[in-house]
Amino acid sequence: MTLIPVAPCVEDLPHGEPAPAGMAVLARAEWPEAPGDELPAIPGFIVSSFSPLVAEVAGRCLRRYFGTAPADLARGERTGVVLATCTGDLATAAAIAAAVDEGRRVQPLLFFQSNPNAVVGWLTSRWGLSGPVVAVVPDGDPMADARDCASLLTAGGDADAVLIIVADQGRSPDEADHAVALLIGPRSWPEAGTTLDVPVT
């Protein structure tokens, strides 16, 4: 067993959102969280900051609740992931477009990272999250869209908890990347860091 200090739930879902009954925000993270915050690279992902951005903000959020990866089986298999991104992976798309427009071959690694699902697969394989995966491209408030999707996952019984990730790349050199991750789950779930009766490896 690994014992991790207990921390309280961060906050309730804001008023006015269609929060499922009995749900709470179990952990929260942002990127950046401090000046000089850096994004660790992910092996196999190139050219773009999008996938590292998603991986880092999600990893921070999950560590604050589960401690070290992976999550315990009982909670991991009932946790889904919703990724909402207004921009999508701009840099990867631009690299593909440039290669096509110039008549060059596209770098093979771009194939594997071209869809936002890919980095979610990287994340869920490490954390053992085997609930459903949903990716949406909101035209309005991305957090509202993501919360709606998460509510459908829990209301329909497809997941008990949902890792919500809202991630957007800067649209110009002057605009920074930004991401927020929330782990929402049942109020009946243990508070952050509580050890369940299963080994945490």
Binding site: G44, G76, R78, G80, V81, C86, T87, G88, L90, A93, A94, I96, A97, A99, V100, D101, G103, R104, R105, V106, Q107, P108, L110, F111, F112, Q113, S114, N115, P116, N117, A118, V119, V120, G121, W122, T124, S125, W127, G128, L129, S130, G131, P132, V133, V134, A135, V136, V137, P138, D139, D145, D148, C149, L152, A155, G156, G157, D158, D160, R171
Partner: protein
Amino acid sequence: MTDLPLIPAQNQARGPQQVAITGMTATSAAGRGLAAVTGSVLDGTPGFSGVARFDAGPCRADAAAQLPGEPVLADELTEAVEAAWAAARLPVTARAGCPLLIALHADPAAARGTGARQVTGVTAATVAVRCGLRPAPRVYQTACVAASTAVIDAATMIVTGQASRVVVAAGFLVDADSFALFDAGRALAADGQVRPFSAGRQGLLLGDGVAAVVLESAATAAGRNAPVAAMLAGWGRSGDAYHVCQPRPDGGGLARAIEVALHRGQADRSEISYVNANGTGTQYSDAAEAAALAAALGPYTAMTPVSSTKSVHGHTLEASGLLELVITVLALQTGRLPVNAGYLAPDEECELDLVLGPGRSPRGRYALSLNAAFGGANTALLVEAA
């Protein structure tokens, strides 16, 4: 039964609300509308030819299943939603406020524009405005389960009382960026044919696909004497937690989605009369899907007809789940099973009862439409004959 994880109690039934498919249409390289699509998949006539819409440049593959000319996605989607609405025999006045969920591939124009707004959002909003549906439709980009995920969300909205009627639309038109990308990933079949579950399969080929369905609560549909094409009896979705882009080799995630769909639909695995498989024609994922079917259907695997219609219309990416759902409904409606085209010889890793020629009939009321995607996302839709 299998030794798959227990299904949580809340997943075991669909609740008091039932979901009806009251209108639908589809477009593929075979043509626009159900008649064209039906003919091609029931006869097993592949729609692949050399790409003409753009220069394939340095790509090693050169085939796709494409509509002639240069179709415009927003126009195709608008036409599809209009046709599905008409098939549901709904008045135009009922459109206002009806939600639209839409699955789209990233638009190549976004990579070449100012980035001020995602082009997919513009396309989706255009369709909603033209059709008079609720503005600000939700856009799904969950790779190859985008459309099936939208269907499941729509069904969930209906069974939880959030909506009584939802339109789901999806579209992908083959473009130069997608073609070059899949070619770079060595995912495209260099021999110009898609051969799902067959020895000698070389990969997938891309195809144009557009579809739209109207989902309604069965009570709402019955209340207005609506035509019912089929019932969406159950659905399941899961994640593999395995890899960036490869499925679990044992098919465990997809098998779990199938089991959830069967439990939710209160159907027994012995009652499945047809499976429209994800069947991309790639070595690794077809074997994993065959393993998933074996795990979920057990001894009934050998007697459950399976085909992947991607062998005819190609891989329509984000639109796959909806185009293939429509085809699955058509199989039950017509009493004829779509053909798994391109087949050469058995593969011992894919021991399935494949539909290898036209004329076979489903022997029961239920059929499954399966999809799997990058990131290990899996969906299973259970369709029941009306």
